[in-house]
Symmetry: none
Subunit: 191 residues, 4 copies
DNA sequence: AATGAATGAGACTTCATTCAT
DNA sequence: GATGAATGAAGTCTCATTCAT
């Protein structure tokens, strides 16, 4: 027998899968219900509306991204090594969770995103903090950490999407080179 | 009085505007019709279906992006200067054409994109060619040009989206710094 | 309160009535819904599309015609008497169920009929069997039973349609004469 | 260059062909226009509306049926031979003009037919007259000629439709038998 | 006479949501 | 809590008809 949490999770995961394949408007509630093995009405015990479901799914996905961001991190390592691991950690999360990547991108570019109250600090705050630390410790150039976040996340996202598009030209050595180039540009050139 | 091209263009532009505000499924054909000042049925003279309209709009937007990419370019300039100008050219196009940016991002992450036959070479082929040239002329590191495209386009897109999100922290000096960091990482360190 | 079968039947019966009056294209689904006292969407729980509804209605009507064919029959009677009763049985069914007659005729002459897989044996198989028996028992001429089916059904259908057209000239004695003429032509002239 | 009559005829013939294939509601005016090689608007020079077109087409088809009815007739022949020729004449017209047969049947069972003022005497008046003559000349039983019309036309129509349905079991000898049976039933048994 | 782009009412159908069980 | 039949507003699209050329 299942408990509530199981069903709620099944609904969220089903929605995530289906939206990747069919988009928002190609994913009716009836389809979510069938995929999650619940009745259509059941979804409304857990979520007020389709919009609520999608917005809660966004929080759910954000949480998983945040978890992934520093899962591989180890503060005892050299900062450069940490940067390489963080970059790859998020990249691999996206590759292994394409439905999250696709959903996240669809969501942030959709009108749903407008309706959401801006969060105190966003999903990538930990990344921002990480770069702030790197600057303080004089590993990185003394610039607005936002800049480094943009560069890092932009490259991860784009690399993952290029890979997802079936262009498998981005292999191991290429990934390493991307990170190296980024690091070279971002790192503080000490005397 | 209008001619055919006018109506078709009005429909495309209206769709672009409305999808930015309301997304695909928040933009019924009736709304497009009203916004474009045509009858609902008229849209179907120019486009077989809503899907066709959206896919043709994608081609239309791709064309504009490609035009924007090298509008500011000047082959007689130094390669580093050209890189700065190309980066800013696309960035500014996105900022000044937020509807194109939002639509493009929504489209590529949507199921519509799956149905489209993969183009021979994509929108960013000119960027790829630009980097290939830079490598040949020994301005840039001898890596797969794809890598540089990922880095450049990822940073432009992300910067534009951060700016669009209302986080106006990215001002002139920050933009300059982003490009500088990228350039430093990508450039060939000559002896 | 109604059960499922009730609603499905109400939809079928409403469609039958309305198509008699208005034809296929004069009977929108909204009209069926109103006449059957259900919401428009409800029809789509029971039938995939208007086409499906009409094709299922055809099966439904065929069933009723087959039921009517031998309702009046009594195998213990003389074959000639049975023939007269069968002829009148179907004739009266048509007269009392004009909507079925009209629908049936509209359907078989329509493109819907083309799409249907040909049935193993058709609605009038029982009539064919009846004539086969009559031939075996030497009441009827030894011809292809198909011929007799054509003659019998053709005359019933045409008589019913003449009557329906408001030409009330076909009264009891005339009907009797039609059957007699047919019988005389079909019967085996015994020595 | 074409004249008016040519275009009007092309429209009528196109409509006849298309309605056989697609039915009334599957045959938009635009399709008729394309098939007849005229502009949509041109149809409205010749016919007030789609309904008018279809009703005029009915008259057109009726005319052809009436022409066919006695094309093969020869008053100098024996009445029995004439009957056989008239039956086959109409049967063959239907077989060779399936679009007329299908259209006629669709029309008479459709609501269009209701709106038409009842004609003074209908399409099959010549058949009725033929049978009246046969009775007067004591070839046929002294019954209401209407009866004989029903039997004859019913059998012709049904035989043609059986043949059209692809059931090719009705061959030459069977046709001959059908007419013989009818004749035997209808003919006056002289002493 | 002929054209065919344009119109817009209305068709078919979908789907978020409700509610009696 | 769970169900899923029922709802009906709203969506996409069609097509008879018009009218400026």
């Amino acid at each position: 027998m299942e408990n509530l949490a199981d069903k709620k999770k099944a609904i969220l995961e089903s929605t995530l899968d289906l939206i990747k394949e069919n988009g928002f408007h190609g994913t009716p509630m009836s389809m979510v219900a069938k995929h999650a093995n619940v009745a259509a009405g059941t979804i409304y015990h857990y979520f007020d509306s389709k919009e609520t479901l999608i917005c809660q799914l966004f929080s759910y996905v954000k949480g998983r991204i945040m978890d992934a961001l520093f899962e591989q991190d180890d503060e005892s390592l050299d900062f450069r090594v940490r940067f390489f691991r963080v970059w790859r950690g998020l990249y691999e999360f996206y590759i292994n969770n394409l439905n999250s990547l696709v959903f996240f991108e669809q969501f942030v570019n959709s009108p749903y995103n407008k309706k959401l109250p801006k969060p105190e600090h966003d999903t990538f705050k930990p990344l921002h903090d990480f770069f702030t630390l790197g600057i303080e410790q004089e590993y990185l150039r003394p610039v607005n950490p936002k800049i480094l976040t943009v560069l890092a996340h932009g490259s991860i996202l784009t690399a993952a999407k290029v890979r997802m598009a079936g262009k498998i030209e981005l292999q191991e050595p290429e990934l390493e080179q991307i990170i190296e180039i980024l690091w070279d540009g971002m790192a503080l050139k000490k005397k």
